[in-house]
């Protein structure tokens, strides 16, 4: 099932009592640096520290009261885990999360703090989808996929709806929007929310190099897999291929995608901490990395950048700052 703009609007009503309406704020530093007007969508301030709460909350709100006691299951490297765990807690549902054993500690701790049960798996040797499917079958629980479900995409799409509303309020016309991308739920949803609201900006996915499955798929006109390989510092963005539902939305609505290197991601995280006073995790800074690396020419243009998550360890950012350049 392909999500529509109406699904995004319905999601906005469903999540409104629970989600933070995060600000879209102009950055004087990025204006000076780029010669354009740059607005930041601060999803680092979203409940659970990333946009993932939106999709999870929308999905869980759609589970019938009678089914809620059976709980939900998700597999995730972290931000989706926290989103699902927090939403489950709000709806009084048990949550079980299948997480890689090497996931960042604050993401594991964050997930546990929301009261979820955690099953660890080996990222290289085990199949998280199989583990999750088995547990779902045993418990009759609902599987909440990280990106490739209409309800998830519609939930993330509320980011686009809010950017459009904020742009109207600010009296600006957006030319370009940069959105971090893993499986593509956020970027496709955001495009859906923006276009449906009448915003005619070019929406770009930004992925880590070697995990740029959506960029390659948009170029090929069909879903293709990125090479993967060496892990990216953007632990949240390592999906090698966009979801099938995602791609159905993306191929109609997205401008060409971008890929950024680890060095570019790191530079963006450091810039955010030192100049913008914002702690952004590497994956959450992918859009900013593309802007700082000059993937688009922002001069005289109006750009929105989604800072999609902030669940880095402070120490990780400190290490990046301390590194010799």
């Amino acid at each position: 099932m392909i999500p529509t703009f109406a699904d995004v609007q319905a999601a906005a009503l469903r999540i409104a009592p629970h989600a933070i309406r995060t600000p879209l704020v102009e950055s004087w530093q990025l204006n000076e640096r780029t010669g354009g007007r740059v607005f930041l969508k601060l999803e680092i301030l979203q409940r659970t520290g990333s946009f993932k709460f939106r999709g999870a909350c929308n999905r869980l709100a759609m589970i019938a009261e009678s089914e809620r006691s059976k709980g939900v299951v998700a597999f995730s490297s972290g931000n989706h885990a926290q989103g699902v765990a927090a939403a489950a807690k709000l709806f009084g549902m048990p949550a079980l999360i299948v997480m890689p054993s090497d996931a960042p500690r604050p993401k594991i701790e964050g997930t546990r703090a929301f009261g979820a049960e955690i099953v660890a798996y080996d990222r290289v040797r085990e199949d998280r989808e199989a583990i999750a499917a088995r547990i779902c079958a045993e418990r009759g629980a609902v599987l909440v996929k990280p990106f490739d479900q209409a309800e998830i995409i519609a939930g993330q799409g509320t980011v686009g709806l809010e950017i459009a509303a904020a742009a109207r309020h600010l009296g600006i016309t957006l030319d370009e929007v940069l959105v971090p991308c893993s499986g593509g739920g956020l970027v496709s949803g955001t495009a859906l929310g923006l276009k449906g609201s009448g915003v005619d900006a070019r929406v770009h996915s930004v992925e880590p190099e070697n995990f740029d499955g959506l960029k390659r798929s948009l170029e090929a006109g069909q879903r293709v897999q990125a090479p993967g390989g060496k892990l990216s510092i953007a632990d949240a963005l390592m999906a090698p291929i966009p979801g099938a539902v995602v791609f159905e939305v993306a191929k109609h609505l997205l401008a060409p995608g971008f890929a950024v290197s680890d060095a570019e991601l790191e530079r963006a995280v450091v810039f955010a901490a030192q100049k913008l006073k914002l702690l952004v995790e590497p994956g959450g800074a992918a859009g900013l990395a593309a802007l700082l690396a000059g993937r688009i020419d922002a001069r005289g243009r109006t750009v929105a950048v989604v800072l999609s998550g902030g669940n880095a360890e402070f120490g990780q950012i400190a290490e990046m700052i301390a590194k010799p350049v």
Copy 2:
């Protein structure tokens, strides 16, 4: 001259083309922790990294074109310096700033980066007001005081105007507002902006212990000096006595003031970095410190906290986080 609500409204029009309209955003973490609804006014995202730009911009905008070439002079430990320097640059005016030689490095560098000339002085042995007055007399330049001028208070008051507008937009009724305080320009201006907009919240100043001149003055019903002494980690909040103009506004509009210890300030800075993903300088976190230390009971209430500045060195915050508790 005592500023009025009309002055704040006029200031808002003057600074609108230059200042960031900073967001007021709900904090899910502080909601959970306090049992109330807590909204953060993110002045760390203001041009120059603190609210000080507002007052400086308003003051400089009021200088006649014919006088602008003579420039402006200010004395400041840092944030006011950057505010004046940045505003002067925007208006094409020369700026000279008298700064203590021990001011935080990013504040000195920030000021120089805006093109200002800097004269260093010894905080203990020299009189910055005398130095600034002498230079003004020599150059015919305009002295831009840090807090005790109607135009400055009116400029800072735009923070209150914006909080009131955002609260209306969010459909909330504020019960309490916590505002960091040094000489009192921000807190008195904010109260002026709020009350004039019909917001009936209790507005509290928050000062470092031993520099709580406004708290003591409100209690005494007249301007009294705080003991001062040992320097606070809140380098931006070390005025021992509120301004005379400030106090005329404050005594009619403010609820009782609060004082916070260095340990409470530090805890707030660490909380902001680790939980809120925001880098706030110690002085800028005074309102948050008061909230976390339980100075007000936020349960079931709606609170706004002004995070007034973010110009700490990243390393300073890292040190606070690394400290054993």
